[in-house]
């Protein structure tokens, strides 16, 4: 290694350290933004160092420069546009799209490296094995993330798409990965093995994600995030770049931890989610059960407003229904009115509220809710018994006390202890079921009032009604 190459690799090491520092600063909302800036600056330095290295090595052709610069500019422009324009509700799609391109780029690097080698037949397993793994993981992530983004965007059906033989295919395809990988390692110059592996991996990404329901998306995105990281790390093995290995594995552990947290929050194993068959589509059946509806206590906006205005502690329980109704801002306004009136307001956010890990927090932050009011499940659950009112908006299964009893679809799932509050108000359109498709015992609890309305309209009414009491 010559001096320049050495210097560049020390710079890479410094950048990798800054990535760790950046992620470390994410442990508090106060420092998180600085952490991201440090990480971004380190990335910019690493990219500049790579330009230096490329110039120094001098093997790049004019066409190579054209490819590098034009590709970089086009990609940067697309990224800039996407980051500026995306709505916070569409964040899961965007993250999924970034997973796709990251995985895709990693797979392309391995394909290119195997094709460009001077004597591919002589490549040792040291390059061809990580190369094959990179191709498999990267290509699965690419097609799988695109399908996931399509499902979230509504382009692909959010309901589990099951076709005859899907299960069999999902066993046969991974088996063919093993065959293809071994083949490619034994004969790295075989184009059939190379392209075959790419094709099979792309197909598997599709068949893996299609049968997974919309409600399980938080787990799927986190899992694909972990895959992308691993693919990038494999690309690091192929290219002999430790920076890629470090960064890739940091992302992979992040994705892995989030996948585990999400699966735990749904009380389901990761295998169970990937195999599918439980999650339903985004549009849960809105069937009104006449018998159950008769036992609930409907309340009006004025009733609820009185309760809220005279409460000393209110816990708001937001679910994805709130975001679907685009009512975060109305909720934020109502909460601010109550806070200014001296009511202690906080939000109980279930880990799977939203379409990706932590999604609901971002949606509330966008609606001007201070992060000090956002509480995690384990912290807020002991507070419910002191709450005068628990206001549930667009959340269903995560509030259902039946989860504490054995023998039903959500048994054992960690829930918010909403039923322990002194009184409960649920804003809901109808008595429709949640994703699990079961009755919610909370709604028939005598201390629960049901405010049947659209979330956005209901919250505006509440805001003006509360305004009259406290104004």
């Amino acid at each position: 290694m010559d001096t320049v190459s050495n210097a560049v690799h020390y710079i890479f090491l410094g950048s990798a350290a800054c990535f760790v520092l950046g992620l470390h600063l994410m442990n508090h909302p106060r420092t998180a933004r600085r952490g991201n800036a440090i990480s971004a600056a380190a990335m910019a330095v690493a990219i500049a160092a790579t330009v230096w290295l490329v110039i120094h090595e001098g093997t790049i052709t004019t066409t190579g420069w054209l490819v590098l610069v034009s590709g970089g500019l086009i990609g940067a422009a697309l990224g800039l546009y996407a980051a500026r324009e995306v709505k916070m509700t569409a964040m899961p799609q965007l993250v999924s799209l970034f997973n796709a391109v990251g995985g895709g780029a990693a797979a392309l690097i391995a394909v290119n490296d195997l094709l460009q080698a001077d004597h591919p037949a002589a490549l040792g397993a040291r390059v061809s094995l990580p190369g094959a793994l990179d191709i498999v993981i990267g290509a699965v992530t690419f097609s799988g993330s695109l399908i996931a983004a399509g499902k979230l965007q509504g382009v692909v059906s959010g309901a589990p798409v099951v076709f005859p033989g899907a299960r069999l295919l999902n066993v046969l395809l991974p088996a063919s990965f093993v065959v293809g990988t071994v083949w490619l390692v034994l004969s790295p110059d075989s184009l059939v093995a190379l392209y075959g592996l790419v094709a099979v991996a792309l197909l598997f990404g599709v068949t893996m994600v299609l049968p997974i329901g919309g409600a399980d998306m938080p787990v799927v995105i986190a899992l694909l995030n972990a895959f992308t990281g691993s693919a990038v790390a494999m690309a690091g093995f192929v290219l002999n770049e430790t920076a890629l290995i470090i960064a890739g594995m940091l992302v992979s552990s992040s994705g892995g931890i989030l996948t585990k947290l999400m699966a735990d929050a749904m009380n389901r194993s990761i295998a169970n989610i990937v195999v599918g068959g439980f999650g339903t589509g985004d549009s849960a059946p809105a069937a009104v059960a006449g018998g159950a509806a008769a036992q609930v206590r409907p309340v009006s906006a004025d009733d609820v407003a009185i309760q809220l205005a005279y409460a000393s502690k209110v816990i708001i329980v937001p679910g994805y229904g709130l975001a679907a109704a685009q009512a975060q801002h109305e909720l934020g306004d109502l909460a601010k009115l109550l806070t200014d009136h001296g009511v202690d307001v906080s939000y109980a956010v279930h880990p799977v509220a939203g379409r990706m890990p932590g999604h609901m927090n971002v949606l509330l932050a966008e609606a001007n809710v201070p992060y000090t009011q956002l509480k995690e499940m384990d912290d807020v659950n002991p507070e419910f018994p002191q709450a005068d009112v628990a206001l549930v908006i667009g959340a269903n299964d995560v509030t259902n006390p039946i989860a504490r009893k054995p023998g039903n679809a959500i048994s054992g799932m960690p829930i918010l202890d909403v039923d322990k509050a002194k009184s409960v108000v649920v804003i809901k359109r109808s008595m429709g079921h949640g994703y699990a498709g079961i009755d919610n015992e909370l709604y028939t609890d005598p201390k629960t009032g049901m405010f049947f309305t659209d979330a956005k309209k209901g919250l505006s009414e509440l805001k003006s009604a509360v305004g009259e009491f406290v104004g």
Partner: protein, 101 residues
């Protein structure tokens, strides 16, 4: 470039996983979405790999693959960091004064 010793590479791999788990598990659930998009931006380091293969390519197929990898990688880096910053900017300890609409 010199062949990186396999043992060294695997050592780096294993230690990175351990550091990742240690650091990430301290991130509060409130910030899980920015964490995800932020770590997403970190795997945009793949753009460096794309640059290196662009430098080594000498065939048309190689150029095309490198070009697509460059577009993907650059989009990943730029988009990932910007959108994370946009999200984190919204997290405030006190509600901001409402802007006039």
């Amino acid at each position: 470039m010199n062949e990186l010793d396999l043992l060294t590479a695997i050592t780096v791999f294993v230690l990175s996983v351990l550091i990742g788990v240690e650091v990430i598990s301290k991130v509060p659930a409130t910030l899980h979405t920015p964490l995800m998009s932020g770590s997403n931006a970190v795997h945009g380091i793949v753009v460096i790999g794309a640059m290196l293969i662009a430098a080594e390519s000498h065939t048309w197929l190689g150029y095309v693959l490198a070009f697509v990898a460059m577009v993907f990688g650059a989009m990943n880096v730029v988009g990932g960091y910007l959108v994370t910053d946009r999200m984190l900017e919204m997290f405030k300890a006190r509600p901001a004064e409402k802007k006039d609409v």
